[in-house]
């Protein structure tokens, strides 16, 4: 533990965040392209993408990152969207049909006056166990409640 001061209820180093499972479809990718206005053909044009080194369409990296943010929102609520920080690396591309599992673990709690800085390690893997995204998520919360 970072120190002996009281921590928010239920929050301690080592606990795992509720995992999030997603199966990516081309429809998800197409909708994301429309919402983000990112129509790069490697995401939405199967004929084009098949001729690239990727060998087929892949999901936008930011779509996968949105899953991570969704997992953090489920764990920490509004505190996440008004103070959350993400630092991730994209590993293997995620493709239509991939089933992803997003997980997170509280790696460190740091007390800072009347607030607690929560550091989480996060990871997303596909059904083969290959990582598609890894990194850290950080938020600051009060001692009273994590979410």
């Amino acid at each position: 533990m970072a120190n002996n001061q009281e921590q928010p209820a239920g929050l301690r180093e080592g606990i795992e965040l509720p995992e999030l499972k997603k199966t990516i479809t081309q429809q998800n990718i197409n909708l994301y392209a429309e919402a983000s206005q990112d129509f790069n053909p490697v995401h939405i044009d199967e004929d084009f993408a098949r001729k690239t080194p990727l060998g087929g369409t892949v999901a936008h990296g930011m779509l996968i990152l949105a899953y991570v943010s969704q997992m953090m929102t489920k764990a920490f609520g509004q505190k996440w969207i008004t103070g959350g920080k993400l630092n991730v690396r994209f590993k293997d591309p995620a493709r239509p049909g991939d089933s992803l599992t997003l997980t997170g673990k509280v790696s460190k709690l740091e007390n800072n006056d009347d607030q607690v800085i929560v550091r989480c390690s996060i990871k997303g893997i596909n059904e083969k166990g290959n990582p598609v995204i890894t990194g850290d998520a950080i938020l600051t919360t009060s001692r009273e409640a994590p979410g």
């Binding site: 990296g61 990152l65 949105a66 969207i81 993400l86 630092n87």
Partner: protein, 140 residues
């Protein structure tokens, strides 16, 4: 969204500032975003709040309209900080600046810092985006 002239990434250096991009996120766009990522959080149901990742996605889209990234470009890493809430129809301005360029063999590493502000000029989101791009013909 703005129509902006594309800039050739290979011609720009660290410190380059992109033209600011203005945008709003309406209910329809947010609804499509939530369907795309299958997010049913009550935080965004009839509250007028915009998911911060939708703000980030639009900031990235604004950037992609101003810089010409070649086929084979790979988004390798992303930092984001959500600073304040964004509501539907807030007027947002995305500022982007090249913070790092590096050539490694036939690859080009490009890092862009992003700062999104609302109509009150308050920063609501910041980010750092890194791409690896293949060097174009004529590159080192």
């Amino acid at each position: 969204m703005n129509d902006q002239t594309e800039i050739d990434y290979s011609q720009i250096e660290a410190g380059y500032e992109f033209p600011p991009g203005n945008y709003k996120l309406d209910a329809s766009t947010v609804s499509i975003f939530l369907k795309a990522v299958e997010d049913t959080s009550p935080l965004y149901q009839d509250t007028g709040l915009v998911p911060p990742m939708a703000v980030a996605a639009s900031a990235m889209a604004t950037l992609s309209r101003t810089i010409s990234l070649p086929p084979g470009s790979i988004h390798i890493s992303q930092e984001l900080e959500f600073i304040d809430m964004v509501s539907l129809d807030d007027s947002l301005t995305s500022y982007a600046r090249i913070s790092r360029t590096q050539r490694r063999g036939k690859l080009h590493l490009l890092t862009v810092d992003i700062d999104v502000r609302n109509q009150h000029r308050k920063t609501v989101l910041t980010g750092k985006t890194s791409f690896i791009l293949p060097l174009q013909d004529g590159g080192e």
